[in-house]
Amino acid sequence: MVKIQPKTLFVGKNLIFLPTCHSTNDIAAEIIQKSEFIDGSVIITEHQSAGKGQRGNKWESKPGENLLLSIILKTDFLKIQNQFYLSICTAVAVAEAIQSFGYKNIKIKWPNDIYILEKKTGGILIENSLIGNKMNHSIIGIGINLNQKVFENPRATSLIMSDSNIFNTIELLAERICEFFESNFENLKRNNSAIILEKYLNNLFGMNELRKFIAKGMIFEGKITGINNAGMLEIESDSGQKYYDIKEIEYLFNEKE
């Protein structure tokens, strides 16, 4: 049983806990379909039987060891062309929440993965609903590896593996995420997106560091220098400054980690 009492106005005030479910994003979608939903409702589970990553990718998580939650939000205030700010807002909130416990080397890997050094510890999956050309509501799915110590994927890690001396639980982490999320989301609502963007860039993995990337099958060295309005990654290299869409660029990772 998971119970949370975040110090928030609306995010996480209505909690739906399920010991096990398909995926919290799917449960969120069902709740929205059934009736008027409560803005800021949070769905938490200890086990997802069909955890979702990006389109067809699975999110693997051992039962009871990690944080799996979804937040349902009304996002009709947001213009479609600004929807990447939802991603920024969520990634910043998750990074800030984790950092607030004292974990080190927490970064946001563009666009919205959470990294410890060169490995992934958290993922975000955002599903919006649009009516015609207007945003309506959004489901923000967040998965964070907390107490899991063994992963099949060599590029995955968890908070406990990075620092086992920090006391943390699913409840504590969920509460912090609700709190930091609400604060960033309020900034987005009040059009203070510059503040969120600044925090995003300050926490961005590889920002202003020379590292290797692959584009069009070619390895090259460059520095991430920012993102544009659409969320495309800005990289500076010998061939100048270029913007990349998600499928156009790959990071090369340090394999000895």
Binding site: R55, Q81, Q83, L86, I126, L130
Partner: protein
Amino acid sequence: MDTREIQKLIDFISKSDLNEVNIETSELKLQIKRNGGSPVHYVSAPVQESTSQAVEYIAPSKESQSAPAIVEAPVVASNLIEIKAPMIGTFYRSAGPGKPNFIEVGDEINSGKVICILEAMKLFNEIEAEVSGKIVKILVDDATPVEYDQPLFLIDPS
């Protein structure tokens, strides 16, 4: 070219063997397509009121800006409605690989029905129809990129 002239042109083309005709002048762009065996014609850009609200859009696409503006011609030979992409992204017909398509040609849909997903920058956008009617044509292939305002579906609202 006035409405009567366009109508005459469509009549002429429908009696011919041509499947598709595109005419572009400085004043207008006209596209007429024969759909399957049925004599369905449409004129580009019969914009519905609901989607005609100007959206200020900061797209990094140069192509769409340099493309010639399509002159909005009145609906002539049919009352078909185009559903257009409200954003740039990748068009998906189902919720995921192996999942059934949201809609097929011939389906009767009601407004509020999810018709496709547009994905941009890892944000997945379920698009709900604003109109009710019968799906006449799906204009874009699954998992392909679409531009802002690109027609995605043709719907017969009658």
